[in-house]
Symmetry: C2
């Protein structure tokens, strides 16, 4: 059976990506990287999703990025933007950008692939609805595959690790529809940048999620403090 | 003043690389990544080297790679090779290979560069004497620079992070000579794969180091249990 490492944050996008990898017949190894982010609530979601699929091999890796002070997602010294202050979503790189996050995540996933003999990494990156992060674009993933070809044992041995980005060009509505079609547990996922009991309904991530559900014509079953 | 992140393990190669970056006029940010390796002794060396240069900004990042079971450097279930069992050094990828280690290290260094507004990463990788790791070769670093160009905020903004590998084509003897010329504290460095009080003098890393000092015509001032 083909084996793949799937980066799973516990958010909507990575959960739909996991559902896709499973439906495509992969023996999946879910990988969650705890990097000291504010929204630790997401980690609970990741564990709930793994339990939903009855997977026994969830790999959790701790990485302390508290030295990276520029990102609002890990530093408490920077305020999170709300809608009014952040301008149009996706037009500029927001302060929630974690420096080189997907580069770091893919690197660790690649190491795990070598460790467990997996042939692919699935990552739920999205270049349309994902607020303009440079490490979510197709040309980034192509460049990274080249690194894996020349820089890993598997690559040198002719069995280079491939990166699959099944939702990279999807709208949030497409992702919701895909998740519904695959029976993914969207009700267990967490997208809010804040870590409260309920999703805030106001941060960029909540707004994109709510718009996606609305446009796809489905009800978002998680609880919100408020809705825009 | 130009700023650079320097990956510093506390070994000979990274210490000479740090000395090079300082002598080239960089405001250096030494970065040491603690990834659960056996030779924690190296970390003491890194701190001693930083103290030698009176640097106040040593960044230590913890990354738990204990899920990567295939490498002898982080797993206790795999025996370290001694000379007789490992064949000729450098002809095949050894069990001490940590999957994707330099990919992971460069990724974290790139994030730190973005965080502290540094323009370069210095890494003491070496493709000649470094036991055949694929992520120590020049083509790997070129591919990684491409990733940084398309996948980071700095890259997208036209100020892409560069990777400097000043000793990538040097022999170990060249590295020792360069360190001596730059006044680097080679006596504080640690290369042994084992974590004892004294260096073992028998592992691949000790053998390469001793050969380098011998060929360069200098005495290695650290203590050894035994010498081949």
């Amino acid at each position: 059976m083909k084996k793949a490492v799937v980066l799973l944050s516990g958010g909507l996008d990575s959960t739909v990506t996991l559902a896709h990898a499973i439906s495509a017949g992969y023996d999946v190894v879910p990988l969650t990287i705890r990097y000291g982010q504010r929204h630790a609530r997401e980690l609970k979601a990741a564990k709930d999703v793994v339990a939903f699929y009855k997977l026994k091999n969830h790999v959790l890796i701790d990485l302390d990025l508290s030295s990276f002070k520029t990102s609002a997602l890990i530093s408490r010294e920077i305020d999170l933007p709300e809608r009014a202050s952040s301008g149009e979503i996706g037009l500029e790189i927001p302060v929630t950008y974690v420096p080189s996050r997907n580069i770091i995540f893919l690197s660790i996933a690649a190491g795990l692939c070598e460790s467990v003999s997996a042939e692919k990494i699935f990552i739920g990156a999205n270049s349309l609805d994902y607020s303009g992060y440079p490490d979510c674009r197709p040309e980034f993933f192509e460049a990274f595959e080249k690194v894996l070809k020349v820089g890993t044992k598997k690559g040198v041995e002719g069995a280079s690790i491939k990166i699959e980005t099944p939702i990279v060009l999807s709208t949030k509505a497409d992702i919701v529809r895909m998740g519904k079609r695959l029976g993914a547990p969207l009700h267990l996922t967490w997208s809010c940048y804040r870590g409260g009991e309920k999703a805030c309904g106001r941060c960029d991530s909540c707004l994109l999620r709510l718009k996606g559900f609305y446009e796809a014509g489905f009800e978002d079953e998680i609880s919100y403090e408020a809705r825009a």
